[in-house]
Structure formats: structure tokens, C-alpha cells
């Protein structure tokens, strides 16, 4: 009882006991340090659907590169004696109405469709991130003016751009890319802008300012890097969108010019034979839908893997 009456800050030294050395190291980190990418990959692997999709896409890319190289047929080589052949040993997927090998054309089309998809996504990514980043970071009047310009571009139907671009630059892969990219970056810009606006109020961004970091450094090294998760997911989802747009343009006849093939032009050509040889329609449609589906699954998987709140 007497001990309790000593005021806390007047406890004599001899009543204190020294802790032994084993207590000294009680603040250590037991877990192996994982980088952001490792962590995301571990979570991505758990999503089987996304993993299968990634595998499918990888196989598709490899086939698109190899098949036209090793096949005895070319994408435009016609064999009029072998028109509309059913799948067989010579022509694994059959031939079309001009006797061209469908497998080679499909894989040649994969090259065009996939490269259009990925190239468009990368272009939209670059423009969108820089544009949206600048709007969100600087805010105010600049943001207001730039976003209204974006709204105007977005409000004009994309078909108009497509027809204009095709008229000026002709029907080739670059005009398709250009046509998709004219307004495709705006969704990305809007998303990045929102992200940057909320992140720039974080204390680490302000600490960087107090340190004397330039606007460029704060925006690209801190804010954009920290919004990378949603940006990557959005980019993944832009790929199927671009593939679909390209296929659609080719289907309505304003895509790349014949005899080159893309999935859209193949579907267009098969349209006239759909009642007699429906199998010719099946291949490009299957390619388009499976690719789009797998890219969407990958996007979903990444969305979950990159968002720490969903772990």
C-alpha cells in the first residue's frame, strides 16, 4: 500500500528493473519484403480464369507470329480449284470462297487485330495519362479549358472521325489506329485526372513539394505511379475495345483494304456465304469473342490483384 502513494514521477531509481537484452530486438520485420509487382502477381495467379486467359492470349500471339511464317500458304494465295473447302488435313480450318487458307488468314488477321488493339491501347495510355495528369495536377482554369476541349472531341460520333480519316489517309492499319485514337484517350484522361486530383492532396505529394521537387517529378514519380493500378486495368480493357472497333470498321467495309485480312474483313467476306458455309463465319467470330473475353478476364484479374483493398 505504501508503494501506491508515491507519485508516479517520483519513484526512486532502485525500484526500476532493467530489461534484459532480448527485449532490444523486439521491433523487427519477420516477413520477406515483396515488391509491388511480386505481390500483384501472387494475387493474379490465384484467379484461375485470368490465368487461363493470359495463357490463351500468349498462345494466340505465338501462333500469330509463327503460323504465317511456316505455313506453305500465304494470306492472299488463291487456289480456285479448292474453293470453300471444309476443314481437313491440307487446310486445317478449310478455305474461303477464293480458295485461300483460312488458318493463315486468321493468324495474319490476329497480327493485325492484336497489334491494332495493343497499339491503340498504348497510344491512348500515353495521351490520356499526360493529358489527365496535367488537368488533375494543375486544376483551375487550365483544367477547365482542357477538359471542355476533351468533352467536345468526345461528343462528336467516332464514325465521323473514322470516315474523315479514311478519306484523307486511305484504308490502312495506320488510319484505323488514328481513327480509334482520336477520341479513345478521353476515358483514360478522365480517370487519371480524378486519381491525380485526389492523390495530390496526400501528404507525400506535399512533402515532395516542400522538398523542392518539380511539378514534373511530383506528377510522374509520385502521383502517376500511385495511380498505376487503375491505369493498367483500364489499358487492358481498352485493348478488346480497340480490337472490336477495328473488327467493326472492317465489317462495315472501312477498315484495312483487301486482300489483307483482319478478323473483321474475314467476317465480312463470310457473311455472303453464311447460309451455305456457316463454318467460315465461325472462325473469325470465335477468334474475336475469345480474345475479347480473355482480355476482359485479364483486366478483371488485374483489377483485383492491383487493388490492395480487395486482398
Amino acid at each position: 500500500m505504501t508503494e501506491q502513494q508515491i507519485p508516479v514521477d517520483r519513484i526512486p531509481d532502485e525500484l526500476f528493473q532493467k530489461l534484459d537484452d532480448s527485449e532490444k530486438n523486439n521491433e523487427f520485420l519477420a516477413m520477406e519484403s515483396k515488391t509491388y509487382v511480386q505481390d500483384a502477381w501472387n494475387h493474379f495467379k490465384k484467379n484461375k480464369l485470368a490465368l487461363i486467359s493470359l495463357l490463351f492470349l500468349a498462345v494466340m500471339v505465338v501462333l500469330a507470329i509463327i503460323v504465317p511464317m511456316v505455313s506453305p500458304y500465304t494470306y492472299d494465295g488463291q487456289d480456285l480449284s479448292l474453293r470453300n473447302a471444309m476443314p481437313g488435313l491440307d487446310h486445317l480450318l478449310g478455305t474461303d470462297k477464293f480458295g485461300r487458307d483460312i488458318l493463315v488468314r486468321l493468324m495474319y488477321g490476329a497480327r493485325i487485330s492484336l497489334s491494332v488493339g495493343f497499339a491503340a491501347a498504348v497510344i491512348n495510355l500515353c495521351i490520356g495519362v499526360v493529358y489527365g495528369g496535367i488537368c488533375g495536377y494543375f486544376g483551375g482554369k487550365l483544367d477547365m479549358v482542357l477538359m471542355r476541349i476533351a468533352d467536345i472531341i468526345y461528343s462528336i460520333p467516332s464514325m465521323l472521325y473514322v470516315i474523315m480519316v479514311m478519306l484523307i489517309f486511305g484504308s490502312n492499319i495506320f488510319s484505323v489506329l488514328l481513327a480509334i485514337s482520336v477520341s479513345g484517350w478521353i476515358g483514360m484522361a478522365r480517370q487519371v485526372r480524378t486519381q491525380v486530383m485526389s492523390l495530390k492532396e496526400r501528404e507525400y505529394a506535399q512533402a515532395a513539394r516542400v522538398m523542392g521537387a518539380s511539378h514534373k517529378r511530383i506528377l510522374f514519380q509520385h502521383l502517376i505511379v500511385n495511380s498505376m493500378g487503375p491505369i493498367i486495368v483500364n489499358t487492358t480493357l481498352m485493348v478488346p475495345e480497340a480490337i472490336f472497333t477495328e473488327a467493326f470498321l472492317a465489317f462495315v467495309g472501312v477498315g484495312i483494304s483487301i486482300p489483307q485480312s483482319s478478323w473483321g474483313t474475314m467476317a465480312n467476306e463470310a457473311r455472303s456465304l453464311i447460309q451455305t458455309y456457316p463454318i467460315q463465319m465461325l472462325w473469325p467470330v470465335l477468334a474475336i469473342s475469345l480474345t475479347m473475353l480473355s482480355l476482359n478476364f485479364i483486366g478483371d484479374g488485374l483489377n483485383e490483384a492491383l487493388d490492395p483493398r480487395k486482398h
Partner: protein
């Protein structure tokens, strides 16, 4: 203390924000900091205390130019900070640093500890080669009591106290002359608070850095501050030596604030006299016309409601109160 050179001088600094008060009311002004004059001397710690929303953080942010002052001058080593540009601004950024309140938000989650501490060196091109920077980072980690092998880890692997140490190491990378500590301990456990305070004190002993230590908790401020400034609703109401203010507070607000410090001893705690304050801190959108404290002051007289008392020297301190003028 008095002979020491003045490092930072605030002259009548005001920081106002405009907020839109809805469609019919139009724009209104929030007077977060209103006519503050203060001096911070080389190698000293000035404690800035006051309740939440009194403008103390805004004042700190104004000094480092995270907010632009509406009026007044901020002199750092005699030069007006608000007019700095280019190389002079970079120099100022090197010499003034800030430690933030929330250790969970003030470190970039995508950077390793090494990258975080190295960043200020990279920005200002200090310490030459990568290897020298690496060595400096290790040295800084040891200064704040962390281990060199923490260098490749990410902020989320550390506790609040450890993160605040990392923040301190980052500010020290530039060897500043002046650090603003914006409530650096209020998000931490009491036992960790003392550790951080001790690190800050040790660094001050070794390097002669000056601190502006912003806090709402008076009991901790006492341990680190040489002088204390008490802020209320954007105004400084009392400034003086730490011991003087604690022993004999003069301004009624300081008295009330000090009486609210809990005493960690039930026996002595029983004899403590609390001065209760009625009401809420008035909104800085329409502060009282007279003394900012008049709405809650137990000794308010008639003129307190109409005239504003100025901060004036009363012996060993400066106070802004009419009741003390006779």
C-alpha cells in the same frame, strides 16, 4: 536565448481562404491565420499550441509556401520567402523542411525507404555519386534509430513510430536549418511519442536546427519547446518562455488550456482546478469583431466585444488581453 539570431520572422502574416457559401451567399472568406507576428530564433524550438481549427497548421504550411499568405511578410534569414523564385527558392526549400502529422500518408507507398530518403538528395543534387548517397541514407537511418537493412523495405511494413522516424530522416537528408513539425506525434502512442521527441531533441543538440513544433497537446510540447506561442482563432494570444507560460499563464485562454492538461497521478490530480470553457470555437468565417476569445472568455468586459487587443509586451512575455493592461 535573447542574444540568438532571428532565423524566421513573421510580420503580420494573414492567410485567408475563399469558400463559396452556396448559390445565394456568394464567396466568403475564412480567416485561418489573421495578422500573426512571430519570431523563431536559431537553434530554438518554438511550440505552437491551440485547439483544432485555430489555424496553427495553416500557419506552418504558409511558412513553407504550401499555402500563399494573403498579407504580411515571412522573412527567412532576412529574405522575404513569399517573393523567392528559381535558385533562391530551391535554396529555401533545402533549408526549410516539414514533418507531417500522419505518418501513414506522408511516405509514398510505392517507394522503398532508401528511395524515399534519397529523393531530396536527388532533387537538389547533393552528395555526388549514388554510392555516397547510399552511405548517407544508411547514416541517416542510424541517426533516427532504424537499421541499415530497412533500406529496401516499403513503408507499409513499418509501424507508425518507425514511419515518423523515416520522415525525420528524409527531412534531415537536406541538412535544413529549420523544420516545421506539424503535429508529428499526435498520431502515435504515448510511449512512441516520447521516443520521437527525444530523437528531435538529440538532433537539435547535435546540429542546432530550429523547430516550429505545432501541437494541440500541451504536456508534450513542454518537453521540447524553449518558447511557446498560444494560438486562438488565427491570432497569437500569448508568447513567452516555456517555463514562464506553464508556471504563470496570463491570458485567460492559456489558463484554460493549461488547466486541461491531465495529471498522470490520481493524488495530485484531485487538486487540479479545471477552468471550463463554454461553447465552441467561433467559425473563422465570421470571427467576433473584438477580441477573438471574447465569446468564451470568463473575464470578458464590454470593450472586449468591440475592440481587438494587440499583442504587447508584459514583462517576460507578450499577451493580447485588455484585462492585463492596467
Amino acid at each position: 536565448m535573447d542574444q540568438q539570431k532571428v532565423l524566421v520572422a513573421l510580420e503580420d502574416v494573414s492567410t485567408y481562404f475563399t469558400v463559396s457559401g452556396g448559390m445565394l451567399r456568394g464567396k466568403r472568406t475564412v480567416k485561418a491565420v489573421d495578422g500573426v507576428s512571430l519570431e523563431i530564433r536559431e537553434g530554438e524550438t518554438l511550440g505552437l499550441v491551440g485547439e483544432s481549427g485555430c489555424g496553427k497548421s495553416t500557419l506552418g504550411r504558409t511558412i513553407v509556401r504550401l499555402n500563399e499568405p494573403t498579407a504580411g511578410r515571412i522573412l527567412f534569414e532576412g529574405k522575404d520567402v513569399t517573393e523567392l523564385k528559381g535558385e533562391a527558392l530551391a535554396q529555401f526549400r533545402r533549408e526549410t523542411q516539414m514533418i507531417f502529422q500522419d505518418p501513414y500518408a506522408s511516405l509514398d507507398p510505392r517507394m522503398t525507404i532508401g528511395e524515399i530518403i534519397r529523393e531530396p538528395m536527388v532533387i537538389h543534387g547533393l552528395y555526388g555519386t549514388e554510392k555516397q548517397r547510399e552511405e548517407k541514407v544508411v547514416e541517416l537511418l542510424q541517426t533516427v534509430g532504424l537499421k541499415p537493412d530497412h533500406i529496401r523495405r516499403y513503408p507499409h511494413e513499418f509501424s507508425g513510430g518507425q514511419r515518423q522516424r523515416i520522415s525525420i530522416a528524409r527531412t534531415l537528408a537536406l541538412q535544413p536549418k529549420f523544420i516545421i513539425c506539424d503535429e508529428p506525434i499526435s498520431a502515435l502512442d504515448v510511449s512512441i511519442q516520447a521516443q520521437i521527441i527525444n530523437i528531435l531533441k538529440r538532433i537539435q543538440r547535435e546540429t542546432g536546427i530550429a523547430y516550429l513544433f505545432i501541437a494541440h497537446d500541451l504536456s508534450m510540447v513542454k518537453h521540447i519547446s524553449h518558447r511557446i506561442a498560444v494560438m486562438y482563432l488565427g491570432h497569437i494570444v500569448e508568447v513567452g518562455e516555456s517555463d514562464t507560460i506553464y508556471r504563470t499563464p496570463m491570458h485567460p485562454y492559456t489558463k484554460a488550456l493549461l488547466s486541461a492538461i491531465p495529471i498522470p497521478d490520481p493524488i495530485r490530480g484531485k487538486n487540479r482546478h479545471r477552468i471550463p470553457l463554454g461553447g465552441e470555437i467561433p467559425s473563422p468565417i465570421d470571427p467576433p469583431a473584438g477580441c477573438p476569445f471574447c465569446t468564451r472568455c470568463p473575464d470578458a468586459e464590454e470593450r472586449c466585444f468591440t475592440q481587438r487587443p494587440q499583442l504587447s509586451q508584459r514583462g517576460d512575455r507578450a499577451v493580447a488581453c485588455f484585462a492585463l493592461e492596467e
